[in-house]
């Protein structure tokens, strides 16, 4: 059986005037039905470009230059554009950090959900509104019939994210991509949205790609974890494996900088910042921020290696 989603050696590069940016460089992972893979890393490390590559919606001047993406065995990179459009309306849905940017401010939310339903399957307008109300109910919006007539600005941030999820679910997707879905929300509302995503995933056996910069959010909400740094996956494994035995110094750094209740001592930080993606050094991309690099690290880039079954790391000194 092929995986629900399998990504192999994906390379998405930006051909900019100032040089080549390897935004996604040799990224591989897979997600099964009912499984959530969390993709975690700092801003600019390539998480969103990975997600947009799956949809073949990279912004200019980005191009997918290598690798393979299979959805239920279907090779997405070889599909004609029309077929890919069908996949986007039916099989893969995406939700974003700021729902306001993807909702149409002048359309009632009922119409926006109905529109997504119509894209998916031809439905009679009245039926579409009934289905839309059902979806709103499913995502936990009270009094859904009334809310159908609301405009996006009449809803709170949490409610808007619920509406986005309802729109994403309209096509009953095989794969849901959630790109920082709670980053703009209050912690209390974040917990509600994460509960909702977990429940929906279990009910519908969706595969979920959950993107976040916060390992705290990911811990209770994902099955597998991929840590991304400067366009590459530097560690990957089952959530339990990576959290109990983090092998890459960057993963350890990300774990340590999450503030925990009851902890008052200084937060350990990862010094420095993401390297300039245009200047590619010879050795490991993390070397400038690594607490204990060896000479080999400066000379040669480490390959990703399987250390225990299913647990991979890209580091000479793991």
């Amino acid at each position: 059986m092929p995986s629900r989603l399998s990504v192999e050696n994906l390379k998405s590069y930006f051909f900019t005037r100032s040089g080549l940016i390897k935004a996604v460089d040799d990224v591989s992972f897979s997600i099964e039905p009912g499984e959530t893979l969390a993709l975690v890393g700092e801003s600019g490390c390539g998480k969103s470009m990975t997600a947009l590559s799956l949809l073949r919606l990279l912004p200019e001047p980005g191009r997918i230059v290598g690798g393979e993406i299979h959805l239920d065995g279907k090779d997405l990179l070889r599909l004609p554009a029309s077929e890919m459009r069908r996949i986007r309306g039916n099989d893969i849905s995406m939700i974003f950090q700021e729902p306001m940017t993807s909702l149409n401010p002048v359309l009632k939310i009922g119409e926006q959900i109905a529109e997504a339903l119509r894209l998916h399957r031809v439905t009679e307008p009245r039926q579409a509104l009934t289905d839309a109300a059902e979806l709103l109910d499913l995502v936990g919006i009270a009094d859904p019939r009334r809310r159908l007539r609301d405009y996006p600005h009449q809803l709170s941030g949490g409610q808007r994210q619920r509406v986005m999820i309802a729109i994403a679910l309209a096509c009953d997707p095989k794969l849901l991509i959630a790109d920082e879905p709670t980053t703009a929300l209050d912690v209390t509302i974040q917990a509600q949205i994460m509960d909702l995503l977990l429940e929906l995933k279990q009910q519908r056996q969706m595969a979920t790609l959950l993107i976040s910069h916060d390992l705290g959010v990911v811990a209770g909400n994902a099955d597998k974890l991929a840590v991304m740094y400067a366009g590459q996956i530097v560690e990957q494994g089952k959530v339990q494996q990576v959290f109990t035995n983090p092998l890459h110094p960057y993963t350890r750094g990300l774990l340590n900088c999450v503030p925990r209740l009851g902890q008052k001592q200084d937060l350990p930080t990862i010094s420095g910042h993401l390297p300039d993606l245009i200047k590619q050094p010879d050795g490991c991309l993390f070397i400038d921020r690594c607490p204990c690099p060896c000479t080999q690290c400066g000379n040669q880039a480490p390959a990703i290696e399987e250390i225990e079954p299913g647990h991979w790391v890209r580091c000479w000194r793991h």
Partner: protein, 328 residues
């Protein structure tokens, strides 16, 4: 004498329809009282819309309170002349969630940071450049950044610029309004450590505003928990962690995600953040409170002193703790 004392502060806003007619009012800050000592960090935590920024602006005198008083170093602020107000604004500085919106995009960082020295005549012209470079180094920017423009910086570096600008006038109190809420966790940790170091080096006081209890608990000496315009619990950070007495505090603690998959998942606080336009009857928190009963629906609890430096506003504070999940 406290550095800052806030007494029974209240601020309401008029709500108007699309034609500009007043249709009602909302109470953003309701009978707020707290004090802040020299060298202390007071955390102000609560969900969006609970009145945190309004509180900050009232202290800055950027907004005028309906009633109540703000004392700074013993002086009541509402009676200040505009000249005294300028001097007040020098002693109290604000840093924001998004420093970008408050940085002039057409000015270099060097020029942005020179401005306070010029405006407040803090240094002779010949010395300004030196002072700017010192400031930049203090906040972890290198001198070579001086000629760059705000858009060339990452979010974390922009926050450093915002902090440097606030420090230029050597304030006594900094109101930090969600200074790390928009940052990646890795950058958030750097900025938190920087703010704590600056506080120690200069014996500064902070009113530190955030919606994330884990951040607030980490940086603060004392914490005020706000809900819909009111303080519902106020005590030291240690006491709040060990012995939370308000159901809302308990809920905020339970919602903090822990980077440990064997830890129970965060427990969501049910319900929406209520609107101050139509506040719930009785205790504002009752529709979301697991301890609520009829009494709570009818009458609002007062903020009472439980013991030494621990205040709470809840009819059933003795019961609280039943639903608390703790890290093992």
């Amino acid at each position: 004498m406290s550095l800052l004392e806030v007494k029974n502060l209240r601020k309401s806003f008029r709500i108007s329809d699309s034609l500009g007619r007043t249709t009602g009012q909302l109470v953003a800050v309701d009978d707020l009282s707290f004090s802040l000592e020299k060298g202390e960090i007071l955390g102000l935590v609560g969900e969006s819309g609970c009145g945190k920024s309004t509180t900050g602006k009232l202290i800055m005198q950027l907004l005028k309170a309906d009633s109540g008083q703000v004392f700074f170093a013993g002086k009541e602020l509402s009676g200040l002349s505009s000249r005294q107000l300028r001097s007040h604004r020098k002693q109290v500085q604000m840093i924001f969630q998004d420093p970008f919106s408050s940085l002039n995009p057409r000015m270099t960082v060097g020029a942005i940071l020179s401005e306070p020295f010029v405006v407040h005549k803090l240094a002779p012209a010949a010395q300004i450049r030196n002072r700017v470079i010192q400031l930049m180094e203090k906040v972890g920017l290198s001198a070579e950044h001086e000629q760059r423009y705000p858009h060339e910086f990452s979010g974390g570096q922009r926050q450093r610029i915002g902090i440097a600008r606030a420090l230029a006038v050597e304030p006594q109190l900094i109101i930090a309004d969600e200074p790390v809420s928009a940052l990646d966790l890795s950058v958030q940790a750097q900025i938190i450590n920087l703010l704590k170091k600056l506080q120690q080096d200069h014996n500064l006081s902070y009113l530190f505003i955030a919606h994330d209890l884990a951040v607030i608990e980490h940086v603060s000496d004392r914490i005020a928990v706000m809900y819909l315009g009111r303080i519902v619990e106020l005590t030291s950070a240690e006491e709040l962690y060990r012995n939370p007495r308000h159901p809302y505090t308990e809920a905020l603690m339970n919602a903090v995600p822990t980077p440990d998959p064997s830890h129970p998942r965060p427990v969501a606080l049910k319900g929406e953040i209520p609107s101050p336009i139509t506040p719930p009857s009785g205790c504002h928190f009752h529709p979301r409170c697991p301890y609520a009963d009829d009494h709570c629906r009818r009458s609002a609890p007062n903020l009472v002193e439980l013991g030494k430096d621990h205040q709470v506003a809840c009819h059933h504070h003795q019961q609280v703790g039943k639903y608390l999940i703790r890290e093992k």
